[in-house]
Symmetry: C2
Subunit: 244 residues, 2 copies
Amino acid sequence: MRNIKLLIEYDGTNYHGWQRQLNAITIQEIMENMLFRITSEKTPIIASGRTDSGVHALGQVANFKTTSQIDDISFKKAFNSLLPKDIVVKDAVTVDDNFHSQHYAKSKIYRYCILKRSYPSAFDYRYSWLIKQPLDIDAMKEATSFLIGTHDFSSFRSSTCEARDPVRTLIRLDIEQDRDMILFYFEADGFLKQMVRNIIGTLVYVGNGRFKPITMKTILENKNRTSAGPTAPPQGLFLIEVKY
Amino acid sequence: MRNIKLLIEYDGTNYHGWQRQLNAITIQEIMENMLFRITSEKTPIIASGRTDSGVHALGQVANFKTTSQIDDISFKKAFNSLLPKDIVVKDAVTVDDNFHSQHYAKSKIYRYCILKRSYPSAFDYRYSWLIKQPLDIDAMKEATSFLIGTHDFSSFRSSTCEARDPVRTLIRLDIEQDRDMILFYFEADGFLKQMVRNIIGTLVYVGNGRFKPITMKTILENKNRTSAGPTAPPQGLFLIEVKY
């Protein structure tokens, strides 16, 4: 059996997230169906983690086992000739038998994009959260400092999050401005369900003055989802990279 | 009567270009329908020029006459609350009675995007032309030098182009690289039908070695469309700015 690692890019707009569901179309289901057409094997494709409905990926990693003799480059080409245009295999490589895209992941990088202008964008509405009101970037940067490090992130997990342990290590949370976009880069050893979007919603409350930066510390210590701000919409979120 | 100038952005993917057509949905038709809902006046909205089916705009300019007393900012907001998400009014300003978005245009800037990589993009496939083969950027730059200035551009006009005079002044044709994208910026006092896309198709023939850079000079002098390269696909083309 070969173990093949895929690097995948997808526009999540038209999908109910990565993970197979009974009554909704997902990226995993489409990829597994295409793999079946390529190899005639019914094989699960395991990703580094789920992405939610409407969330995008520039660097999702997944792997699958196969007895197929098709070489790596031909696998990549076969996927791309069959997949819809909004899902692309950027790379396919045969890796060590033990490699597991979820268990071996050391950290993940997510990017969230806020579009900060007074009118919508005909192009970026699928890939950003439009905010028209002023945002104090310095206040938001100050608030992020309380989140860096190893913490119980219960205040920022979805009520439907199934993770047993709510402790994660946030390695990096940088805020960059690029013209009318505010880009937030998160790197952590793992993320709880909707953790990035809940932190973004809370940071926006800091940016618009509803919360003081120091309030972020209190919210984190409360370990209670109701203390934090709202959940930011999914379309601004991209899984950028999975590190192994 | 007031004369209102609009700055418009649109994703052309789902439209048959700007100009009204009998049996196809166009941006002009949608905008005029929304204007009627705002003012109850049946008024033409005149753009600086047509854009073809599938071509995008970041800075299309248009104008219309109205007896409405709605202020400029409210016009902008009313349009954006009614328009589909892929058409956005960036600005609405009352201007001099004489202003005419087409006749007063001094020059236009178009950008064409080639995505230069070995696999497709899940995001940019609507906004670029994917080219996998190597392209010699220096050769393409050399070829552009023959096009700058005032010339008869008959070799690069569509056979269905209705312009009486094929002479145009190409002020600028710059090629820039931004990661895996090659961006071509065209500025001219006006463009013949499909002129940018026909020049791009010919530049790609230079880039891949099928034509020598000097061949561009011969093609221009031939004043014959059949000498030039193919028409590049529409989705890489953006109308960036109209200067007055």
